[in-house]
């Protein structure tokens, strides 16, 4: 069966086994998956190889998930971010949604639910990109003004 290449996902989590297992599941379903074990590495990848959607662990040693999210949005506001949280950090995840994360997922993650959210996030990103494109097209060129 020929795999259809879908969009690019960045998976950020300090837990290596979880990160790789989840990445493998996404890859077999046609996604291009980049992985990062820390917030700092994730930001490097966002700059060099920007993904469509980021799956971001909230509790990480070093740079915290929420700080990483803010930094990603500063680099590219159109990238959609889905937070991965434990039970104890749900409130924090909800707060981050007010700041612009697409959604959150509680660990352990069901792959179907993950796919559903990722697809939705990607759809919104495309919508936002088209909207931005339309806005930029309808904006008058400063130089053409009399």
């Amino acid at each position: 069966m020929e795999k259809q290449t879908k969009f690019k996902i960045l998976l950020v989590d300090d837990e290596e086994i979880f990160r790789e297992a989840t990445a493998r599941q996404l890859r077999v379903r046609g996604f291009t998956v980049l992985t990062a074990d820390s917030g700092e590495t994730a930001l490097d990848l966002v700059r060099t190889d920007p993904p469509e959607v980021v799956l971001l662990d909230q509790e990480m040693p070093g740079m915290h998930g929420s700080d990483t999210f803010i930094a990603i949005k500063e680099i590219d506001p159109l990238i959609e971010v889905i937070m991965l949280t434990g039970n104890t950090s749900v409130e924090n995840a909800l707060e981050l949604m007010k700041l612009g994360t697409f959604d959150y997922l509680m660990k352990p993650v069901n792959i179907d639910e993950l796919l559903y959210k990722v697809e939705d996030a990607h759809a919104r990103k495309q919508l936002n990109e088209r909207k931005q494109q339309r806005d930029s097209n309808s904006r008058p060129d400063k130089d053409s003004l009399p």
Binding site: V28, N87, T88
Partner: protein
């Protein structure tokens, strides 16, 4: 260098009914309650005795002082009263005697006076004298030789009697007074009389008129002037012989047991205290002016001071009653106060135990939250890996689904499950609901027990020098021995892990501010300042991989917090760390 204090952890203290009952079963609280009761019993006895003594002693001293003053005043009052009686009687007697002398002297001035009075004139003299006073018995006229040349009275044979040898006659002739009163004497009639004689000079010759007085009349006079109960009066001469006295006394003795000091110009009245027939008696005396007689007025001391004795009795009974009432009030009040304090202390103790228990529960809750978070990680791995296996088995994905490949993924699941099991095992240690068996623990013994155990296993083969500085006579700590040992065990293990190749662990114990202090210091890597705040958080570890669960210090902190203590940490990176456990002296030792 930073300090972490277990008390900084926030407490949420919902204590259910069941938990309260559980605390009532707490073995240590019963021991403490016994100590509290003993302490308050001792305090109650001391307070009651102290207050009663503190009140009664000054009260007794003050009472003694007032009693002394009161007795002194009343005694003086009795003395002054008796002296006044003696003085009054003396004045009455002097007046009486002066009147009798004047009666006789007036005979010399009578119109029918003659140097050779005939019998009818003498009879007239006697009538005149008796007119003035019926105590006159007879009257006689003595010529210059002392021979009675005229007489009227019941003994006519006295006419012609020679009185020149009578002591009173000689005293009259030789003295400078014109009158004399003789001592009581039987004279020629064998009946006791007084003679009152007055002399007058006619033609250079001394003539004397004498009369005898009935002593009973004088005795009646004495009796009539007596004031007060049990007061006896008597007249004695300078030799102490009774002149006028109660016939009962004169029958027993002719002389007085007491002779007053001779009369002096500034001392004619006085008082003495002496035993008469073994009865303490006050005797007042007064020397008469007209004759060298002394008036004695006596009153038994018990009668003279009866008012004082009565007042003293009333005062003593009153003081005893007041002392008894006040002692009773003190006893009742102190007992009530102590019982209130005892109840409050016991309640405080129970509250403290409830707080400690609630604190432990809060710590467990805190731990459970950490566990939930930490267990999610292996669960996420298990779920993700099982998803991978499902993908491998899904023909759509055309993945390698050989048994080897699947076994490899299953091994990942096993590993994650084992990791979760390790966490739940630690959790079980914290969550075991067993009855606490608190007992007074010697910290030094517990430290040595842990150390011996560690030396056999965990510290075996390591180049760690252990130095012990254990202070003797530490106060016992009321706790369960095993959790207490777990505190030292976990800190010691942490210290050993902090030492890379070789180093020293120093354990010292002592007393600091009513708490037992145990310091475990190592010469290991030290703790980075940013980690210092988190070392007691559940699951925080710097040991890496699966070497540490991050629960050791958290458990130690929970136990110490449960015991009401604190753990302080001083650490310098590269030099080592020192953990100081401060356990309050919770085994109730009353103040001495």
């Amino acid at each position: 260098m930073r300090v972490w204090d277990a008390r900084l952890l926030q407490d949420n203290l919902p204590a259910g009914k069941q938990r309260t009952e559980h605390i009532y079963d707490y073995a240590g609280s019963e021991e403490n309650r016994k100590q509290i009761n003993k302490h308050f019993d001792r305090l109650q006895t001391r307070l009651i005795l102290g207050l009663i003594l503190g009140f009664l002693l000054p009260n007794a001293l003050l009472s003694a002082y007032f009693h002394f003053q009161f007795t002194h005043t009343l005694k003086n009052s009795a003395i002054l009263s008796l002296e006044a009686v003696a003085d009054n009687q003396k004045n009455a007697l002097d007046l009486y005697l002066r009147e009798r002398i004047a009666n006789i002297y007036n005979l010399f001035r009578s119109p029918d006076f003659t140097l050779h009075p005939p019998q009818e004139v003498m009879e007239g003299y006697l009538r005149t004298l008796r007119h003035y006073h019926d105590g006159f018995v007879d009257v006689g006229f003595l010529d210059p030789q002392g021979v009675q040349t005229g007489y009227a009275g019941p003994t006519p044979e006295l006419l012609g009697s020679d009185y020149s040898d009578e002591p009173w006659f000689q005293r009259l002739m030789q003295g400078n007074k014109n009158h004399v009163i003789s001592d009581s004497h039987p004279g020629v009639r064998d009946t006791e009389y007084f003679t009152v004689a007055v002399r007058q000079i006619f033609f250079d010759k001394v003539y004397v008129l004498r009369a005898t007085l009935d002593p009973d009349k004088l005795y009646m006079l004495l009796r009539s002037t007596v004031q007060g109960s049990n007061v006896e009066s008597a007249l004695i001469n300078a030799q102490g012989q009774y002149q006028v006295v109660d016939p009962k006394i004169s029958f027993i003795s002719k002389s007085s047991a007491f002779i007053p000091p001779p009369e002096s110009p500034d001392q004619s009245v006085g008082i003495h205290e002496l035993d008469i027939d073994d009865i303490p008696t006050l005797v007042a005396y007064a020397w008469l002016t007209e004759t060298p007689w002394a008036l004695l007025v006596s009153q038994p001391l018990s009668v003279a001071q009866a008012g004082m004795y009565r007042a003293r009795l009333i005062l003593t009974i009153s003081l005893l009653c007041i002392s008894l009432v006040i002692s009773g009030v003190i006893f009742y009040t102190i007992r009530r106060l102590i019982n209130d304090a005892r109840r409050m202390t016991t309640k405080g103790q129970q509250l403290q135990e409830m707080l400690a228990h609630a604190s432990k529960l809060a710590s467990i809750g805190e731990l459970a939250a950490g566990v939930a978070h930490e267990i999610n990680n292996p669960l996420a791995i298990i779920m993700a890996t099982s998803g991978v296996i499902r993908d491998m088995l899904n023909p759509e994905f055309e993945l390698d689904h050989s048994p080897e490949a699947i076994n490899k993924e299953l091994a990942v699941i096993d590993s994650a499950a084992t990791r979760a099991k390790g966490i739940t095992k630690k959790l079980q240690e914290m969550g075991k609901t067993r009855m606490p068996q608190a007992e007074p623990c010697d910290i030094n013994v517990q430290v040595e027990t842990v150390l011996n155990r560690l030396k056999k296993v965990e510290l075996r083969g390591k180049s760690i020098d252990i130095q012990l500085h254990l202070a003797p006579n530490l106060p016992p700590i009321l706790a369960e021995p095993e959790p207490l040992r777990q505190v030292f065990n976990n800190i010691l293990l942490n210290a050993a892990d902090a030492i890379d190749d070789k180093g020293t662990i120093t354990i010292s114990t002592g007393v600091r501010e009513n708490a037992v202090a145990i310091t475990i210091s190592d010469t290991g890597r030290g703790i980075a300042p940013e980690n210092l705040e988190r070392i007691f958080h559940p699951f925080f570890t710097t040991k890496g991989g699966h070497h540490g669960t991050g629960l050791g210090l958290s458990i130690a902190a929970s136990i110490v917090k449960y015991l009401g203590g604190v753990i302080k940490v001083n650490s310098t990176v590269g030099k080592g760390s020192a953990f100081t456990v401060l356990l309050p002296n919770n085994y109730y030792c009353p103040l001495t």
